[in-house]
């Protein structure tokens, strides 16, 4: 009887503690050929985080689980990475303080807990993602995480060459019905719209976080991805009264609106073809 009890105890201890985390990678988990294309953050996820999620979360948050809870792990370990990136509430946009994958567990979630090593692994992965999506200036700090702010990424794609090609500098000379061209009031950035008579200065200023919203905003797509779009609605509204002098707002006939659409297209082409500079707004000049 005593032997049977000892055996049961040993069995239960082994079975009950299967949550023990071993920081080992499974080379078979990643399909051959993909490894070289992975970012360091992605690799950290596959090697260190995916096993944790498989053990702790997949039963309830995999695609085949029943219930209304978010299925942020998709169908099988090979899909974990792509799927979890679609859930900002789980990754917290790579801020550990906002990442549900950490905060949910910390506040009590079905009795699931992480070891310190597991927490560290997840935090390391989030930090790696934030860094890779950040300003890429190599200083180890994330000044402008593009994951949080796609406009920062956009700023890295804007070039003066495209700006000139699209005639964007002409916005400074765009006439209003009552008060002269835009530069009359906005030459120094009134109301965060910078319309200097010097095109290169205007371009430089529009890459800053303060002014980039002058011409652009972000559309959140149904899948959670974010796309920078021209702020045509705002520019049309501002030119149609609303306590602002009127100006031409036909985005097809008006050369300034057409120029903005062209500049957006040129910049988007750079983005999609991978010809952008590092994501991030320019550093503010020292005064």
């Amino acid at each position: 009887m005593q032997k049977r009890s000892d055996l049961a105890l040993a069995t239960l201890l082994v079975a009950g503690c299967t949550g023990t985390y071993q920081r080992t990678s499974d080379p078979d988990r990643i399909p051959d050929g993909d490894d070289d294309q992975m970012t360091a953050a992605h690799r950290a996820f596959e090697e260190d985080v995916s096993p944790i999620l498989a053990e702790k979360c997949a039963t309830c948050h995999g695609a085949s689980a029943s219930g209304a809870q978010p299925k942020f792990l998709g169908d099988g370990e090979s899909s974990y990475y792509d799927q979890i990136l679609l859930y900002p509430s789980v990754t917290g946009d790579f801020d550990p303080g906002l990442a549900g994958v950490l905060t949910k567990i910390a506040s009590g979630h079905y009795g699931v807990t992480y070891t310190a090593a597991q927490r560290d692994a997840i935090q390391d992965w989030l930090a790696a993602e934030a860094l890779e999506r950040g300003d890429d200036d190599g200083d180890g700090e994330v000044d402008q995480p593009a994951s949080v702010n796609p406009l920062a990424e956009w700023a890295g794609c804007m070039t003066f060459e495209d700006w000139v090609t699209a005639g964007m500098g002409q916005w400074a000379n765009k006439e209003t019905e009552e008060d002269g061209p835009c530069s009359t009031c906005h030459a120094d950035g009134l109301a965060r719209f910078f319309a200097s008579g010097e095109s290169s200065e205007m371009f430089a200023m529009h890459r800053y976080e303060l002014y980039i919203i002058g011409f652009f905003t972000v559309k959140v797509e149904a899948d959670g991805s974010q796309t920078v779009v021209p702020a045509l609605g705002k520019l049309r509204r501002m030119g149609s009264g609303n306590f602002h002098p009127n100006y031409a707002t036909d985005e097809e006939a008006d050369p300034d609106f057409a120029g903005l659409v062209e500049f957006h297209q040129l910049t988007m082409s750079r983005k999609t073809s991978g010809q952008c500079g590092p994501a991030g707004f320019p550093a503010a000049p020292e005064i």
Partner: protein, 171 residues
Amino acid sequence: MRPAILLSVLLLGCSDLGVAPTASVDDTPDADAAPPVDLLAQWAGCMSLDRWEAARMGAWASKPSSLGTICSDCHGDGLAFFNASPSSAEMFASNRTERFVTGFFMLTTDEETGEPDIAPAWAKLSAKGEGQNNHPLFAVGPGERYFQSLEAFARSTRDARDRGDCDPPLH
């Protein structure tokens, strides 16, 4: 060894490792356990377009900022995961989704019961209106009419939740 003692030893061993014991030997969740309630999903299920319109929540799209712009100028398509579409119905539909429900609401703790609850995201909205992260300024505070709209909408949604007048949890 008695089962209770055995279980205690088992739990102690696991807590030393910082690892939760698995729910059962076959590693499936306990079928009898109540599922965790996603309060935000439940709240979204209680949000209704009628109550949204009654509280004039769609007006937030036209809330003016210090730049002469209105919320929808930048957030009409969801910039920074805050949706202020010029279409009130579209804004409502977006703000019920998991991605946008935290634009106006947040998880909080009931001060009396200590239980988790939902509340308007006053602190965030006020911080934005006061210029956090270079956000354009806008009027904030208890007397502000857009804030009052949000308060009215939150109140009517809470009432609906309390009397069970809700759709199933979303998300």
